[in-house]
């Protein structure tokens, strides 16, 4: 670092900026979890506007500069479009629970598996490598279109992109760690097939991505013990489930906020859910659904090989039941449970069919 040169004469200073600031005398105090985002939501700094007119990317609560360039043509600038009440909590939790696929997975516990099981595992890994970063690419696009006035929600989405990146990488690692390799991709996330990409509204995207898509995957990860053959795979499913749970919680809490604050959008949200439910088992994005590549792979893993396919199939059906039950609970929690009581949703019927 260079040494400063001592000047003989003093510089003229303007200093007019010193009196242009946001709310002053702010002294945020730490809580038992450290100095969290919730702890700095004080005074004017805690007020996320219902409608954001911030088009300069100004940090919320900072003083406006009249000559500042309008740089943010933000598509998401209405609070109800993206907000959730527990974003600060989810963000801080995400930071605390980051993990490393390189060093936190006990890779040495992986032993050679029978070829049919390894192929099934590698097929699932290929599928998960393919789908996990949909959940990275799509939120990233929305992050760049969201006003920083809603930075708490935006920061949770940044964590999600990070999490999905790690998921993409951990499943690739598993596929290449045990004498196998990547298999044939499903293509289920391509273009219009992957309808998550089509969303023109954040809540529409969130309903497909967080509630139905990631909700279904979360159930599978939570039941990962049933198809894990070593401690490494158990750790992968457990840690991924922990991350997915936050992403699903984001979707549920956002939809709840939407239900409470934008009743005029209820019917529209129901339409998104109608669409999501049509593909909940029929599409190729739910690996426990009816797409043969992934459902057969899962049945082999759950049963313990091709020879025990029927046993695996029964477990797969149990997973589907649980996926649907959990989906119903989430949608009810989000404030849209009436669809299950008034006959609009076919999910209770599908669930009854499976149970029979």
């Amino acid at each position: 670092m260079s040494e400063a040169v001592q000047l003989d004469t003093g510089h003229e200073l303007d200093l007019g900026w010193m009196d242009q600031h946001g709310q002053w005398d702010t002294k945020a105090e730490q809580s038992k979890y450290g100095l969290t985002l919730a702890d700095i939501q004080i005074g004017e700094y805690g007020d996320a506007p219902v409608e954001s007119d911030n088009q300069t990317g100004r940090p919320r609560g900072a003083a406006e500069r009249p000559g500042s360039y309008r740089i943010g043509n933000y598509a998401v600038r209405t609070k109800s479009e993206i907000w959730l009440d527990n974003a600060s909590f989810l963000y801080e939790e995400a930071l605390q629970r980051q993990w490393s696929s390189a060093t936190d997975i006990p890779w040495h516990t992986i032993e050679p598996l029978p070829d049919d099981i390894e192929q099934a595992q590698c097929t699932m890994d290929t599928f998960l490598t393919e789908v996990e970063f949909v959940a990275g690419d799509v939120p990233a696009r929305w992050i760049s279109q969201t006003t920083p006035d809603f930075f708490e929600a935006r920061n949770v989405l940044l964590c999600q992109v990070m999490d999905e990146s790690r998921h993409m990488d951990v499943f690739r690692k598993r596929a290449l760690a045990n004498g196998g390799g990547l298999m044939k991709a499903t293509g289920g996330t391509a273009g219009v097939v992957g309808s998550i990409d089509l969303s023109r509204d954040f809540t529409e995207m969130s309903s497909r991505l967080h509630i139905s898509g990631e909700g279904a995957v979360l159930t599978i990860f939570r039941m990962g013990e049933l198809m894990a053959y070593n401690d490494a795979e158990k750790a992968i499913y457990r840690l991924c489930a922990q991350d997915e749970a936050r992403h699903v919680a984001f979707g549920v809490m956002h939809m709840r906020y939407m239900a409470e604050t934008a009743p005029e959008r209820h019917e529209e949200i129901h339409c998104y859910l109608d669409e999501a439910e049509r593909g909940i088992l029929a599409g190729s994005q739910n690996p426990a659904g009816q797409f043969p590549t992934t459902s057969e792979s899962m049945a082999i893993l759950l049963g313990g090989g091709k020879k025990h396919f029927d046993e695996g199939r029964n477990k797969l059906i149990a997973i589907r039941r649980r996926q649907l039950s959990e989906y119903i609970k989430r949608v009810r929690s989000a404030g849209f449970g009436d669809r299950f009581d008034n006959g609009r949703s076919q999910v209770p019927e599908i669930l009854a069919d499976i149970a029979a």
Binding site: A102, A140, M183
Partner: protein, 343 residues
């Protein structure tokens, strides 16, 4: 509904390369170590527009996702996989890792200056977030190492946005005045390709921010500030490593790229120079370096000038390393006066 039809197992035995067994090394099972056999073949062009993982068999007939960045020269850096793992290992949490208790009340002028600098740095992080995340989904899957590294970069930027806000609201102050925004706009509007965005976001703004952060670390008032600046420097150093490696790769593989970069910087320098005329950040830094308003008029401003000389030396040194030739008389006076030869 037939719950699960009778299996056909048509998906079995379909792999381009089987029998791969990558073992963890001393740094664990890293992303870079997976690049064996066909899985390590990174093509110069990636025409598959689906999310087909590199090395998997593509399913035919799938509609395109529509990736804009499909050429290796427009995105690649050899170090991306290693930087990705390093970013994960060096994670930190502002809430619990920063020793917030070490912050003591500061003289009012100094607190105002720190808060102003934190406001600007928070806004820099906002530009990092918005710029990178607007490009991520446009990058083809064949170059997943870069996509994954950039996920760590936006994650870092989210943390920077947060930590500078926390510092501003911690010690009896508040947020200051927003930045002029002209350079921010230039970075966000770099639509000519990811390489252009990298040039403005990292080579120009990044070099400046890194120099500023080094000085701020030197003049930190307490362990909390020292920790913050030190860790943001560590994060930003990874971003710079990717950026410079990518620019070097781009220069080596794209015809006339050095001239294009020179033109971009010719334009960028002018906007950057215009922002240098704005007194706000300069005076806030001088107050911090000088220990108050009085000190700012003398040794504070002298230190700011030393900082600018250091910035220009690094900036020009990097351009030279990239073989981007820049005639001094084409550099705006506001910057040229800090060139080493100008002493």
């Amino acid at each position: 509904m037939t719950p699960v039809p009778n299996p056909k197992f048509e998906w079995m035995n379909q792999s381009r390369q089987w029998g791969v067994r990558v073992k963890p090394g001393k740094k664990g099972l890293t992303l870079g170590s997976l690049n064996v056999g066909i899985y390590g073949e990174v093509p110069t062009e990636w025409n598959d527009q689906t999310r087909n993982p590199r090395g998997a068999i593509a399913r035919r007939g799938m509609p395109p996702v529509g990736y804009a960045i499909r050429e290796k020269a427009g995105i690649w850096a050899d170090c991306a996989a290693d930087l990705y793992e390093e970013a994960i290992q060096r994670r930190w949490a502002p809430a619990t890792d920063v020793p917030w208790d070490t912050i003591e009340p500061l003289p009012d002028d100094v607190e105002r200056a720190v808060c102003q600098v934190c406001t600007e740095l928070s806004q820099y992080a906002n530009v990092d977030i918005e710029t990178i995340s607007s490009w991520q989904h446009q990058m083809a899957y064949g170059y997943h190492e870069v996509k994954q590294f950039l996920a760590t970069a936006t994650f870092d930027a989210g943390r920077h946005y947060e930590v500078f806000r926390k510092r501003a609201l911690r010690n009896g102050g508040g947020l200051g005045l927003e930045s002029p925004g002209e350079v921010n706009r230039m970075i966000l509007e770099s639509r000519g390709g990811w390489t252009e965005a990298v040039t403005y976001l990292f080579l120009l703004r990044g070099t400046y921010a890194m120099t500023m952060l080094r000085y701020l670390e030197r003049f930190a008032h307490n362990d909390a500030e020292r920790f913050i600046y030190g860790h943001v420097i560590q994060d930003r150093a990874r971003h710079m490593a990717y950026a410079l490696d990518h620019l070097k790769y781009s220069v080596a593989h794209v015809e006339d790229q050095t001239t294009v970069l020179a033109t971009l910087l010719f334009i960028g320098d002018r906007l950057f120079a215009r922002e240098l005329r704005d007194p706000v950040l300069r005076e806030a830094l001088a107050i911090i370096f000088g220990g108050g308003v009085e000190g700012a008029r003398t040794h504070g401003m002298a230190t700011w000038e030393a900082m600018m000389r250091e910035f220009m030396a690094r900036y020009e040194g990097t351009c030279e390393w990239l073989r981007v030739r820049r005639a001094p008389d084409r550099i705006p006076e506001e910057m040229r006066r800090f060139l080493p030869e100008a002493d």
